[in-house]
């Protein structure tokens, strides 16, 4: 990491309130880093979904388990890590929510949204077990349309 890089690390309780807390913290970092409104929305949503995944699927909503959130702000991107204390999972085992048979499923869209909203996304085995979501968003170029509160690009579209 460079000398200007910033690092935030927090341990969150396995509770619903942690989802809002994580979103709020990352939104403040994203705004301070110069991301525009649309990118902040996408980052905030992705953090929400990452922590919801850890809360519900990883830690099975068990309060004795923790959720570990880390954010690195480098010179060119914001990198977010969400680590749970569950048994881990493989991305290849996650059903496609766009498949006809899953369209009316009431769950299973979190991973899809993180993939859609972030530039890079992966799930790796956590160092102490569990699953670690690693996702990043490239910082906007200074003065670009997507920087500092301007709307910039529209939401990603998928082929119907």
């Amino acid at each position: 990491m460079g000398s200007d890089d910033k690092h935030l690390e927090v341990t969150l309780e396995t509770q619903v309130e942690s989802v809002n807390l994580a979103e709020e913290m990352c939104l403040r970092m994203a705004e301070a880093a110069g991301f525009g409104e649309d990118d902040c929305y996408r980052i905030g949503m992705s953090v929400r979904e990452g922590v919801i995944n850890a809360f519900h699927y990883g830690n099975q909503e068990r309060p004795e388990k923790k959720i570990h959130l880390a954010v690195d702000l480098t010179t060119d991107k914001m990198i977010i890590h969400v680590l749970d204390e569950g048994t881990g999972f493989k991305l290849s085992d996650v059903p496609d929510p766009l498949a006809e048979e899953n369209l009316l499923s009431t769950s299973g869209r979190g991973i899809f949204l993180m993939r859609a909203f972030m530039d890079e996304f992966d799930v790796v085995p956590g160092k102490t077990g569990g699953a670690e979501i690693v996702m990043s968003k490239k910082l906007p170029a200074p003065g670009s349309a997507s920087a500092n509160g301007e709307g910039g690009q529209s939401a990603p579209q998928q082929e119907a």
Binding site: I52, R109, F112, Q158
Partner: protein, 114 residues
């Protein structure tokens, strides 16, 4: 901002005016109890007015789908009105725009239940 819900009758249709965020926790729970309450009162034609809903997460999407299915299972219809851009984009990328009937005009939405 938490979710607020009020409802009004328009003939056989119940219009539910929602405002705030439909997210994991209270927001999703309120949407669920509102729809289930209407079904318990035999109100099976439901129009959700999302004009003041500017944020939905995957939990909220799941609750919309759950409500849609619950209403359909009672031979009713659940339709959506006045989507904000963020909500419309979200329904488009999740392909749910093709599942729900979505309207931009309340009169047209109400007539569609006939």
């Amino acid at each position: 901002m938490s979710l607020h819900a009020t409802h009004r009758d328009a003939g056989k249709v119940t219009v539910v005016d929602l405002s705030g965020r439909i997210t994991l926790g209270e927001g999703s729970a309120l949407l669920r109890t509102t729809i289930r309450g209407l079904l318990d009162d035999q109100r099976t034609m439901i129009l959700l007015n999302l004009a003041d809903v500017d944020y939905i997460d995957s939990s909220g999407i799941g609750e919309l789908v759950s409500g849609f299915t619950a209403v359909k299972n009672r031979n009713g219809e659940l339709k959506l009105l006045h989507l904000t851009k963020k909500v419309r984009d979200l329904l488009q990328i999740t392909k749910l725009f093709t599942v729900f009937d979505v309207f931009t005009d309340e009169g047209a939405a109400l007539r569609s239940f006939d």
